[in-house]
C-alpha cells in the first residue's frame, strides 16, 4: 500500500514536472512565434531624427546612413532619388502559415551538406532568431526565404510590365507585358488541397508559369518552371515560343545570364531564385533599416501604363532615368545575409541580401561583380495586401508590387510594375503542365 502510494506520488511528481516543462516549452514556443511573426506588436522601430512623412534626400541623407543600405545611400547622395518615410506597419502573414510553423517548431533540421533539409512540411522552417555563433545561421535564413509565405499557395501577377530603361537618357527601350503565375505543390496552408497537391510524381515544390502578352511578335511565348523539393536537383523548364509553336526544354543551369535581355538574371527573381546549395550563406547581423514597404492604394500611381475595369493602376517610377519606384519606405527589422557563389565561375562575387524579418521577403539586394565592385542593386517594393486590390485583403501575402534592378556599371535599369492577385482561380493546377503550353499557343 505504501509502495503503491509512493508510486502514485512519483507519477504525480513526474506528471507535474512534465506538465511544467511542457508549459515552459509552450511559452517558449509562443515567444519564438511572436518574435518571428509579430516583431512590431510590442515595439515600434525608431531612429533618431527619422519620422513618418519626412523625405530623405541629398541634403540630409548622411544623418540616416545607418538605416540605408550602402548602394541606395549612394543613389540618394548623388541626387538620383529620395526616400519618403512611411509609418512602420505590421505585414501579418496568414494565420495558417503561422500555425504550420508552430506545429513543426523544432522538428526541422539541416542535413550534412548545404541544400539538405529534413522535417519540413509547411510554415517557416527556422523561426528562431539567428545566432551569430551558429555557422549555418545564414543558411537557415535562406531556407526561411525559400519556404516563405511569399505569394501564398498560389497567385498571379496579372499583368506584369517590364521596362528596359537607359538610366542616363531616361529612354524606355522596351516594354514587355507578361502574366506570371505561381503554384506551390508542397507546404500549402490555405488553398485546398493542403499540405500537398497530389499526384506529384516528381515531388515538385513549386511551379512558375509565364506568358508573354506583348509585344505582338513574341506573343504567347510561354515559360514553365518546375522546382523540385530536392534542393540539390536543378529546375526542369520548358519554353514555348509563340512564333515557333513548339515546346522546348531548357537548360536551366545557366541562371546567371540576362533574362530576356533585361538587367535581371533568372537567379535574381524574387530576390534569389537559385538553389540554396548554389551559395555559401553567411548571417551578418540584425538591424533596423528603411525598406520599401507601403500601402499601394495610398500612392500616386502610374496612370498610363495600365488601365482595366477594376480601376487598378500600377506603381509609378521616377528619379534618375525613371529607375526608382515612387513609393514610401518603412523602418523595419532586417536580417543581413551574404551569399557567395559556390561556383567560382559565377559572374558575382557576392550578393548582400537584406531580408525582412517579418515576411522573409528580400526587398533589397546589393550585388558585386567578380572584382568586388558594386554591379547591381535590386529593390522589390512590398505592398500591404489590405491596401491593394480588394481580392487581396486578408490574404496575408506581402505583395510584390514594384521592382527596380539597376546596373550601376552599365547605367541601365529594368523596372517592374505589378498587378499581383492572390486568386487561386487565376492559377489552376492544369496551367502548370507542359501540355498547357501547347494548348494555349496559337
Amino acid at each position: 500500500m505504501k509502495k503503491h502510494h509512493s508510486q502514485t506520488l512519483m507519477r504525480t511528481l513526474i506528471a507535474g514536472a512534465t506538465a511544467s516543462l511542457m508549459a515552459t516549452a509552450t511559452v517558449a514556443d509562443d515567444a519564438v512565434i511572436e518574435e518571428s511573426f509579430f516583431p512590431y506588436r510590442t515595439e515600434t522601430p525608431r531612429f533618431d531624427g527619422l519620422s513618418p512623412g519626412m523625405v530623405i534626400n541629398q541634403n540630409n541623407v548622411a544623418q540616416f546612413k545607418d538605416v540605408i543600405d550602402p548602394a541606395f545611400y549612394s543613389f540618394i547622395e548623388q541626387g538620383w532619388t529620395t526616400i519618403t518615410v512611411g509609418e512602420t506597419t505590421s505585414f501579418d502573414l496568414h494565420p495558417n502559415y503561422v500555425e504550420a510553423t508552430r506545429a513543426s517548431l523544432g522538428q526541422v533540421s539541416l542535413g550534412d551538406q548545404v541544400g539538405e533539409i529534413s522535417g519540413w512540411q509547411a510554415g517557416r522552417p527556422f523561426p528562431e532568431e539567428p545566432n551569430a555563433d551558429d555557422p549555418r545561421a545564414g543558411e537557415k535564413l535562406a531556407w526561411n526565404y525559400k519556404y516563405g509565405y511569399n505569394w501564398g499557395d498560389s497567385a498571379a501577377i496579372y499583368p506584369f510590365y517590364w521596362k528596359y530603361r537607359d538610366m542616363d537618357s531616361g529612354d524606355v527601350e522596351r516594354t514587355i507585358k507578361f502574366n506570371f503565375h505561381f503554384l506551390n505543390y508542397m507546404g500549402r496552408v490555405i488553398q485546398e488541397p493542403t499540405p500537398e497537391i497530389t499526384p506529384n510524381p516528381s515531388e515538385l515544390f513549386r511551379a512558375i508559369y509565364v506568358q508573354v502578352l506583348d509585344p505582338s511578335d513574341v506573343r504567347n511565348t510561354q515559360l514553365l518552371i518546375h522546382r523540385a523539393s530536392d534542393d540539390l536537383k536543378r529546375d526542369n523548364s520548358w519554353l514555348y515560343l509563340g512564333f515557333q509553336r513548339r515546346v522546348r526544354r531548357l537548360a536551366t543551369g545557366q541562371v546567371t545570364d540576362a533574362f530576356l535581355g533585361s538587367d535581371l538574371m533568372i537567379e535574381d527573381f524574387e530576390g534569389y531564385n537559385g538553389r540554396i546549395s548554389d551559395m555559401n550563406w553567411a548571417y551578418k547581423g540584425t538591424r533596423y533599416m528603411l525598406m520599401p514597404f507601403y500601402n499601394h492604394n495610398d500612392l500616386t500611381l502610374d496612370t498610363e501604363t495600365h488601365q482595366d475595369d477594376d480601376g487598378y493602376q500600377v506603381v509609378a517610377f521616377g528619379g534618375q532615368g525613371g529607375c526608382f519606384p515612387n513609393i514610401t519606405w518603412q523602418l523595419r527589422k532586417v536580417y543581413e545575409v551574404e551569399a557567395s557563389p559556390a561556383d567560382e565561375s559565377h559572374p558575382l562575387s557576392r550578393r548582400v541580401h537584406f531580408m525582412d524579418a517579418q515576411t522573409f521577403t528580400i526587398p533589397r539586394t546589393v550585388a558585386y561583380d567578380r572584382k568586388g565592385s558594386l554591379w547591381k542593386t535590386f529593390t522589390i517594393g512590398q505592398a500591404h495586401p489590405d491596401h491593394h486590390l480588394p481580392a487581396n485583403e486578408g490574404s496575408g501575402v506581402s505583395i510584390d508590387d514594384s521592382f527596380s534592378m539597376i546596373d550601376v556599371q552599365a547605367s541601365h535599369c529594368t523596372t517592374g510594375q505589378f498587378k499581383g492577385q492572390v486568386d487561386p482561380q487565376l492559377s489552376p493546377t492544369n496551367m502548370f503542365n507542359v501540355q498547357h503550353l501547347r494548348a494555349t499557343g496559337s
Binding site: 510590365y161 527601350e173 522596351r174 516594354t175 514587355i176 507585358k177 499526384p199 506529384n200 510524381p201 516528381s202 515538385l204 508573354v212 506583348d214 509585344p215 505582338s216 511578335d217 513574341v218 506573343r219 511565348t221 518546375h226 536537383k233 536543378r234 526542369n236 523548364s237 520548358w238 519554353l239 515560343l241 512564333f243 515557333q244 509553336r245 513548339r246 515546346v247 522546348r248 526544354r249 531548357l250 537548360a251 536551366t252 543551369g253 545557366q254 545570364d257 540576362a258 533574362f259 530576356l260 535581355g261 533585361s262 538587367d263 533568372i266 482595366d308 475595369d309 565561375s345 559572374p347 541601365h412 493546377t429 492544369n430 503542365n433 507542359v434 501540355q435 498547357h436 501547347r438 496559337s442
Partner: protein
C-alpha cells in the same frame, strides 16, 4: 527531301531558351480583355550573286483573337484568325530573270564525234527521230537550259525549260500543280485555296469531373509535332511552301495551314498504376480532312526552286506536251529531237477529296521524371512528288504507243505514307545541356530507281535528329551574356536502297543510302538583347555541301526590327548519276551495246536529272549566294 533546315533568323531565337528571346516593345493596336487585333508589315529584299534582285516581298499580316469564355458545355471558347497577303515585286523589278521577259533562246550540247560534231545546237535542231516535234509548238525562246544556274551541260542530259509565268508561256505548266500565272507569283496568298486566310479556327474545352480536359481546335491551322527545329522528321502534318525562301525560312511562315480537327485529352499528372506515374500525360488525335495539298516546291521561273525540281518537272512536261531537244542523248552524245508524247511528264495525279484520302494522326505525349517523350503515328499522303514510269508513250522510232520499260515518261503521284515515331528530350544536369532526339520510321515513300522498269521503288526510311543546346560564357567577347551553341545531326537511312554497278556506271536509287546533315548555331547578344549577331552553318556530309548564314538582328525601336544577313554556300554542287540515256526503252533502237536487255540501264550518267538527289538542297543551291535585308514594323 524530308529535310528541313529551318529559318536562319528565327531558328536561333527558337533555341535560345529563356535567355535568347528577342523582344520588341509593346505596341498593341487593338486589345481588350477578350479580344485583340495586331499585325505587321515586312519588307524582305534579297540580292543574289550574278542575278541581282531575287526577292522584294512586301507582307502584311493581321492576327485576331476573340475569347468567349464558357459557352454551354464548353469552356475557354475562342476564335482565332490570321490573314496574310504579300506582293513580291521581283517579278516586276527583275523580269528578265523571273518575269515575263525571263529566259531566251538556248543551245544544247552535242558531243557527238564527226561527222556529227557540233558542240552546241539550238533547241529544235538536234537529231530528228522519225517522230519528232514542231518548233512552232515549242519555240526556242523564253527558256533556260535545265540546271544552267548550277552547272554546264558537261556531256550529260539537258533540255530547255520555259521559265515565264504560265499566263505568259504555258509550256510545261502542270495543271493544278505547278501552273502559277504572274499574279499567282506576285500575290502568293491570293489563290484558289484562299491562302490569304492563313489560319481560322475555333478552340473549345470540355472539362471532366476527373479534372481531365478534352481540348479541341477545329479549323484551318498548323499542327506541329516533334522537338527539333531544323528538320521535318515528325513535323510532317502540314505541307510546306519552299518557294518562299527554299529551306531557309521559318517553318511557322511556310507551313501551309490545312483544315484540321485536333483534339487533345489532357490528363496532367497521372498515376497509371502503383509505381508508374507521369508528370504530364496527353493523348491527341489529328484528322486532316482538307483536300490534299503537296509541298510548294517552286515553279521554274521563281527565285526559289528547291532541288531545282520544279525546273526538271516543267521541262519534262514541256517535252511530253510539245516534244523537244535533249542534249547528248542518242548514243550518249547526240542532241536529239523527241516528239510529243514520247518522253517527259504527262500529268500530276493529285489525290481528290474523299474520305480515304484524308489523313489521320495519333500522338501520346508526356513527361516522366526528367524525360519528355512522345509516341507518334500518322497515315498521310506524301507531300513530295513521286515519278511513276510505265505510262503509255509513243516510240520515237516506230510511232507505236505502248508501255515501254524504263522509258523516261512519267505521271506524278503522291503515295500514301505510314509513319511511326517518337521523340525525347532530357536535361542532363551534370553537363547542363539539353539533349533532344526525334525519330520516325516510314513505309510507303518512293524514290527514283533506274534499276526498276517503272523507274521508281518503294522503301522504308529511318530518320532521326539528335540535338544538344548549351549556353556558354565567352568573357573575352561578352562578360555579361552567354552565347548559345546549338548543334544537331540529322540522319536518313533508306532501308530498301538499291544500287548496282553497270557497264557504264552505277544505276539504282540516286539518294544516298545513309546520309547525315549537321548544323551548328552560335548566337550572341549585346545592348540588352537589342543587337544579336549569329552564325548558322549546315553541312551535308555526303554531298559535301555547306551553307554559312551570318546575320545581325537589330531592334531599332519598340516596333521596328531590321535583320541583315547573307546566305553563302561552299563545297560541292552538282553531282552525277545514271540519267537513263542507256535504259534502252525502245529496244533495239536504243541499245547502248549489242545484246542489251530492253529496259535495263547501262549506267551512263550525267549531272541531270538525278544527280540532284545526291547534291541535296544545299548542294543544288550552290550558286544561290545571297545578301538579305528584312525590315519588319509591328503594329
Amino acid at each position: 527531301m524530308q529535310t528541313k533546315i529551318k529559318g536562319m533568323s528565327l531558328w536561333c531565337a527558337a533555341i535560345t531558351g529563356v535567355t535568347g528571346l528577342s523582344l520588341v516593345t509593346l505596341s498593341p493596336a487593338i486589345a481588350s480583355e477578350d479580344a485583340r487585333i495586331d499585325g505587321y508589315y515586312e519588307n524582305a529584299t534579297y540580292a543574289r550573286d550574278g542575278v541581282g534582285l531575287s526577292k522584294f516581298r512586301n507582307t502584311i499580316q493581321l492576327e485576331g483573337e476573340k475569347q468567349f469564355g464558357d459557352v454551354g458545355l464548353f469552356s475557354n471558347v475562342s476564335v482565332n484568325a490570321t490573314l496574310r497577303g504579300s506582293y513580291d515585286g521581283v517579278y516586276d523589278l527583275n523580269d528578265d530573270e523571273y518575269g515575263r521577259n525571263a529566259g531566251g533562246p538556248i543551245l544544247l550540247q552535242d558531243t557527238a564525234p564527226a561527222p556529227f560534231a557540233a558542240p552546241f545546237v539550238p533547241h529544235g535542231e538536234g537529231l530528228e527521230l522519225p517522230n519528232t516535234f514542231d518548233t512552232a509548238n515549242n519555240p526556242n525562246d523564253g527558256m533556260i537550259v535545265l540546271g544552267e544556274n548550277l552547272h554546264d551541260q558537261a556531256g550529260g542530259v539537258a533540255f530547255g525549260v520555259p521559265v515565264r509565268p504560265c499566263d505568259e508561256d504555258d509550256r510545261g505548266c502542270i495543271d493544278d500543280y505547278l501552273d502559277k500565272d504572274t499574279n499567282d507569283l506576285r500575290f502568293q496568298e491570293f489563290n484558289d485555296r484562299l491562302d490569304f486566310i492563313r489560319e481560322l479556327y475555333v478552340d473549345f474545352d470540355l472539362n471532366f469531373d476527373s479534372g481531365n480536359t478534352l481540348s479541341t481546335r477545329l479549323g484551318k491551322q498548323q499542327v506541329i509535332w516533334g522537338r527539333t527545329d531544323l528538320f521535318r522528321v515528325l513535323d510532317v502534318i502540314n505541307p510546306v511552301d519552299y518557294s518562299r525562301n527554299n529551306i531557309y525560312d521559318e517553318l511557322e511562315d511556310i507551313r501551309i495551314p490545312m483544315w484540321i480537327l485536333k483534339t487533345d485529352y489532357r490528363m496532367g499528372p497521372t498515376e497509371v498504376f502503383d509505381g508508374l506515374a507521369f508528370d504530364d500525360l496527353n493523348f491527341q488525335v489529328v484528322w486532316n480532312f482538307d483536300e490534299f495539298r503537296p509541298h510548294d516546291i517552286g515553279q521554274c521561273g521563281q527565285p526559289n526552286v528547291i532541288l531545282d525540281a520544279g525546273c526538271f518537272f516543267r521541262g519534262m512536261n514541256n517535252l511530253w506536251e510539245n516534244g523537244g531537244t535533249v542534249a547528248n542523248f542518242a548514243n550518249g552524245s547526240i542532241a536529239t529531237d523527241f516528239g510529243p508524247g514520247q518522253i517527259g511528264i504527262r500529268q500530276a495525279n493529285l489525290p481528290s477529296w474523299k474520305l480515304s484520302n484524308t489523313q489521320l494522326g495519333l500522338k501520346m505525349e508526356g513527361v516522366y521524371g526528367d524525360l519528355g517523350f512522345s509516341l507518334n503515328a500518322l497515315t498521310y499522303r506524301s507531300q513530295l512528288p513521286s515519278l511513276h514510269g510505265g505510262i503509255p508513250a509513243q516510240n520515237g522510232f516506230t510511232g507505236e504507243t505502248a508501255v515501254w520499260p524504263s522509258l523516261i515518261a512519267f505521271d506524278i503521284h503522291f503515295p500514301r505514307v505510314n509513319l511511326v515515331g517518337g521523340s525525347l528530350d532530357y536535361y542532363a544536369q551534370s553537363i547542363d545541356t539539353v539533349v533532344r532526339v526525334e525519330t520516325a520510321y516510314t513505309s510507303g515513300e518512293e524514290f527514283a530507281n533506274t534499276l526498276r522498269k517503272e523507274l521508281y521503288s518503294e522503301s522504308d526510311v529511318l530518320r532521326y535528329v539528335v540535338g544538344a543546346d548549351k549556353n556558354i560564357f565567352l568573357p573575352f567577347l561578352n562578360e555579361r551574356r552567354a552565347f548559345l551553341f546549338s548543334g544537331q545531326i540529322f540522319g536518313q537511312h533508306i532501308l530498301d536502297h538499291e544500287r548496282e554497278q553497270r557497264l557504264l556506271g552505277e544505276a539504282g536509287i540516286p539518294d544516298w543510302e545513309h546520309n547525315w546533315i549537321g548544323t551548328l548555331l552560335i548566337k550572341g547578344w549585346w545592348m540588352n538583347d537589342r543587337l544579336s549577331p549569329q552564325l548558322i552553318t549546315a553541312h551535308d556530309f555526303r554531298a559535301q555541301a555547306t551553307t554559312l548564314a551570318p546575320s545581325v538582328e537589330w531592334l531599332a525601336s519598340d516596333s521596328l526590327k531590321v535583320t541583315a544577313g547573307a546566305n553563302i554556300k561552299v563545297g560541292d554542287g552538282a553531282r552525277q548519276f545514271d540519267d537513263c540515256r542507256t535504259c534502252n526503252p525502245w529496244d533495239p533502237f536504243t541499245q547502248a551495246y549489242p545484246g542489251q536487255p530492253a529496259g535495263e540501264s547501262a549506267g551512263l550518267g550525267g549531272l541531270e536529272p538525278l544527280g540532284r538527289f545526291k547534291s541535296g538542297p544545299i548542294g543544288m543551291a550552290q550558286e544561290e549566294d545571297e545578301i538579305q535585308l528584312t525590315v519588319r514594323y509591328s503594329f
